[in-house]
Subunit: 318 residues, 2 copies
């Protein structure tokens, strides 16, 4: 019995919410929802939330006389893409340890499932449906509380030798810079994450950081406040230097900047491009585009959905 | 008519010499020679040197009743690996412009030919027959007058969107550092190349750079001279910071350091490891090895030979 429509499910697990969606194999969302991930209770509880959410979407697919052919999930931390298991621990989900994501989901629903790092699937979403649509070589940075990185090379997500690659936030461009909790010094996460930007601004103003956030700083930038403009320059300088090195080493076609910080508007991207284009090698700048992410909060779901659907199609061919 | 032995040819084109060798498909050299590359005369003359050298080796293969099944050539500059043509110009071979390497060699000998960047084939040699033998994820740096970089990902040479990737020498780890002729600031080439090391040492000693080379400095290091030891520390610090960022982003299994500077001995590699292992992320250090290159001056020939033989075998399978 072949159903008419084949659909996929994409999930985006975070410390606060699980976002989950039903959509087409190209990543167009049909239904998208979110629910508390209950991440601080227990791993069993997180899995219950995930499995219940998938069941909801399968029921919705049934009503449309459609079949869910693949499930994708993006999770914080390192994920072994071959086994679908999380590797070790991750700071924002302390109970989420060695989680057997594929095993639990396939065990319940018998639908092929893939799991990957959340920054990887967000990059994949931008490459398939967002700002880098069609690019086979692209790098995506998500500037939030921290900095997440995802890299697409030769049209595939790059994960590294043991799934620990693409940690772009912990590139150092200043060996005399601020120490980072990761043990490195001068990491761009210390300057270009929301946390880093607030810290820079409050240092320049000599004020405590309590109550200051990036929205406040971006509002001051629009008003032309001196310290806010200086903060923008420092942020863009660190980020631009890191992107110049990434351009020299990866020679990508598109670099995408997303996350809450990128919502500031085009000023940041414009400033970053000035620094990047001044410092990268000539041949590596040919055709290179720096763009703001387009998919916002949906990127995780879209990317997980697209990735699972593509992996499913590949499997069908073999 | 099938001959008994199938052999390959590897060539390594430099500003001063062409090195050329006949060997097995695994990159074991049977005959290796070098001849002036006559790089400053004309592109026709360089091609004459290359084609005559290949003819010599084909004649040698004939004497062994062997057949040359593939030819590989490593060249400075960006090489379009798909077409086998050099892209634009390269500083050390000013007459070598848009050279149609595959076209000229296949046109004359009708033997399948591949051309690639010289640092790429050197990395490939270390991955197949040298310090990183068996590693599918590795990075190689060649510390000479400048710094060359080659990257192997998922067991294949990584070239980037338009063959301009792996420019590791022009990663910046110090946005307040020395300006580089490439337009960047704080590039590791300014500190960890032979040129950079000599400059650092002479600055510390307040002496002119004329007549000072890395051999001299390394001899002073062995004697325990203060400024020489300080030079080693500065060099290792810049290099170690860059390798920590590369480990965080690429998550490789092996990093190989080669070139004249690495001949200094294990002190440099040991110092670099201290910095690298202090600053890279924990998961990215699991299983990571930092090693000195093993193939020395033969790496270019070995790598070009292995690469051509592997590409030939792949072609045969399709």
């Amino acid at each position: 019995m072949t159903r008419e429509k084949e659909l996929a499910i994409g999930l985006d697990l975070g410390g606060t919410f699980l976002k989950y969606a039903l959509g087409t194999k190209d990543g167009e969302l049909i239904i998208s929802r979110k629910t508390p991930s209950r991440a601080h209770e227990s791993m069993e509880m997180i899995f219950k939330v995930i499995l219940d959410s998938i069941q909801e979407l399968i029921d919705e697919a049934d009503k449309m006389d459609a079949k869910v052919i693949a499930i994708g999930l993006g999770s914080p931390g390192a994920i072994n893409f071959e086994t679908g298991k999380q590797v070790g621990t991750t700071p924002n989900l302390p109970k989420w340890v060695d989680a057997d994501i594929r095993g639990q989901i396939e065990g319940r629903f018998n639908i092929p499932t893939w799991a990957d790092n959340d920054a990887n699937v967000m990059a994949f979403a931008e490459a398939r449906q967002g700002a880098a649509k069609g690019a086979a070589y692209m790098i995506a940075l998500t500037l939030g509380t921290g900095i997440g990185g995802g890299i697409l090379l030769n049209n595939e997500i790059y994960r590294g030798y043991n799934y620990a690659g693409a940690e772009i936030g912990h590139m150092s461009v200043d060996l005399n810079g601020k120490p980072c909790p990761c043990n490195n010094v001068g990491c761009i996460e210390r300057y270009a994450s929301a946390t880093g930007i607030v810290e820079t601004y409050c240092e320049l103003k000599s004020i405590p950081i309590d109550g200051i956030n990036t929205e406040y700083i971006f509002a001051r930038i629009k008003e032309g406040e001196k310290e806010a403009l200086e903060t923008l320059k420092i942020t863009a300088n660190y980020l631009g230097f890191a992107l110049a090195s990434l351009a020299n080493v990866f020679n990508p076609k598109v670099i995408v900047i997303g996350g809450g910080v990128s919502d500031a508007g085009d000023e940041l991207v414009d400033e970053v491009w000035k620094v990047l284009s001044k410092h990268a090698l000539g041949p590596n700048l040919i055709g290179l585009k720096l763009k703001r992410a387009q998919l916002g909060n949906e990127a995780g779901m879209v990317g997980a959905m697209c990735l699972a659907a593509e992996m499913y199609e590949k499997q069908q061919k073999n």
